[in-house]
Amino acid sequence: MTVIATENLSKRFPRVTALDGLTLDIGPGVTGLVGANGAGKSTLIKILLGLSPASEGSASVLGLDVAAGSDTAATIRERVGYMPEHDCLPPDVSATEFVVHMARMSGLPATAARERTADTLRHVGLYEERYRPIGGYSTGMKQRVKLAQALVHDPQLVFLDEPTNGLDPVGRDDMLGLIRRVHADFGISVLVTSHLLGELERTCDHVVVIDGGRLLRSSSTSDFTQSTATLAVEVTDTGAHPDGTATLRKALAGAGLEITADGRLLYVQAEGDDTYDVVRDAVAGLGLGLVRMEQRRHRIAEIFRDDDTLPASNQAGTQASTPTTASTSATTPATDPAGSPHAL
């Protein structure tokens, strides 16, 4: 089943080409839409919501043509949810009042709107605070309200535009977990945009990379990130071991592990769960501080390096930021409990 399909979709503004012959076929599940700022992500969502006509080509959402007229567009918008990138919440009403109002704007009768609001706010993790004015919420709570208003009418598909924007690492993980649940537990397909590539490899079933309005690559996340189970380890120096990294490397090599170094980072080939213990014991034995130990897989970012030749004709200005985002994504926390950064 196809949830979103576009065929040679183009959008030209007087000075900028936002989308350039984009052909996509997206199935159910969580799909990440990756691209630098200005790559055309938001433009694509606008077209899919039927709010902005395409210059060329066609697009369909849930099997309905977005350009088929206002009735079809209304049907599409009844069945999809949208969480914008920017702030969109009035500060002087409570989350409950606001989400109830938005549910009614989606056509839900008053009673159903209230019930669905209570359910949805609980699912996104807002409890007592939902009766307080939104103005006093933290960024993380506001993002949850934004997500709740996109889900309150039980859509079949949600568009989440940069849902992790402005969140701290913990809030970001919570939001990514929530997005995963939207599909896994709620059965709602998700199109989530981000310019942080690393985020999506943990959350999405499928990743679409666009740049300069063109499709760079579209494939499932497992294709992108064959799990080779590499551990990244970083340690501090101590008085006894002025070069902690080198010392540890020697110690681990002595324990029979395969190691490559990248500056202060050591990449250890993990043979199994034992490897974590070996590394931990080695670090503790040497009395070094363990800055980080995290699972490392091939990054989606690397496809930019693979495909250097392909998008050479990109629109100006967008490609410069991709190496930066790639390195930003390296702060992905480890999935192993022992991997959380702690100093000894």
Binding site: L51, V93, L108, D205
Partner: protein, 319 residues
């Protein structure tokens, strides 16, 4: 996050509890049951319903209903003044045994125009600026609500709020007049004329107020600009009418009135609704029929123009 549930496309998995988030589900003997996600399969009532809901919500909001206690004060105060004056007039009429009300129904809005100005200036920005300022507008347009629905609901709500403000005191006057056993036919006719005038005023003022308020997302600017849009033309027109009177150019007085919102209403009701003109001259000067007709056309065109302007305004604010 461990990928605990492999992409099950099955929407009905209500029994599954998420491994994250919901506190209380992990404690085995706890009595809190997570009933999981429930799908909604009730009716979806579509655009018409959404438009009516938005209308009701905006109309209530214009009187501070469903909003904070603080935002109830200004509309309640202004509404109270409008009604209080009518009650006093009725009391005077009954108490002193007058054989007619101290003023005509059509005069009421003219005498109390500052109150109406303040109401539209305070409430038009509330109605439209908040959605623009907090960028809530895209949330509407990503739903079945369309621009036309949004603008017509907002416009109708503001016009209705003004009509409630201007027609309620007329109703008080009318009921009072009947209690005082004034002539039924006269009073009913006057009341009906007053209502027509109030309806036209509500339509025109709501349009002007909303159009100006929609220009700026800042509420403070909106309030000031709306007040200026009503009072500055009124002052200017009054001055011109005074000069015209001095120069004995009585025909011009009615035409000058076309340049102020309240002047338009005055011209229309003086020409068609049997009102006494409230021109800025020592004695009332009836506008010519041509000036009255022109005023009606200008008022309707202005209201329509404001509506179209709002439609245009929200094309940009869409996403």
């Amino acid at each position: 996050m461990p990928s605990d549930a492999p992409a099950t496309g099955s929407p009905g998995s209500t029994g599954s509890t998420g491994s994250t988030g919901d506190s209380g589900t992990t404690a085995a003997t706890d009595v809190i049951h997570d009933i999981g996600y429930r799908h909604y399969d009730g009716p979806r009532l579509g655009r018409g319903y959404a438009r009516r809901s938005l209308f009701t919500q905006s109309l209530r909001a214009a009187y501070g209903l469903g909003r904070s206690a603080k935002s109830k004060v200004p509309p309640a105060l202004l509404f109270g003044i409008m009604c209080l004056v009518a009650l006093i007039l009725v009391a005077v009429a009954i108490g002193t045994g007058m054989d007619e009300l101290p003023l005509e129904y059509t005069d009421y809005a003219i005498y109390l125009q500052p109150v109406i100005f303040l109401f539209i200036a305070a409430q038009a920005p509330v109605s439209v600026s908040r959605d623009l300022r907090f960028r809530t507008v895209p949330l509407y347009f990503s739903r079945p609500v369309e621009r036309l629905d949004y603008v017509s609901a907002k416009y109708a709500a503001m016009a209705s709020a003004l009509f409630v403000l201007t027609a309620t005191p007329l109703l008080i006057l009318y009921v009072g007049a009947l209690l005082a056993k004034l002539d039924f036919t006269d009073q009913t006719k006057g009341f009906a004329q007053g209502l027509v005038s109030a309806a036209l005023l509500s339509l025109l003022f709501a349009g002007i107020g909303l159009a100006i308020a929609a220009l700026t997302p800042r509420r403070g600017f909106g309030v000031a600009a709306v007040i200026a849009a009503f009072t500055v033309p009124f002052g200017a027109v009054s001055a011109l009418q005074g000069i015209a009177w001095e120069q004995d150019n009585l025909g011009a007085i009615g035409w000058f009135a076309l340049f102020s919102p309240i002047g338009l209403i005055d011209n229309v009701q003086s020409t068609f609704l049997g009102a006494t003109p409230a021109t800025a001259s020592p004695e009332p000067v009836d506008p010519s029929t041509a000036a009255g007709t022109a005023a009606l056309l200008v008022a309707l065109a202005l209201a329509a123009g404001c509506f179209l302007f709002l439609l245009r305004r929200y094309r940009k604010a869409g996403l």
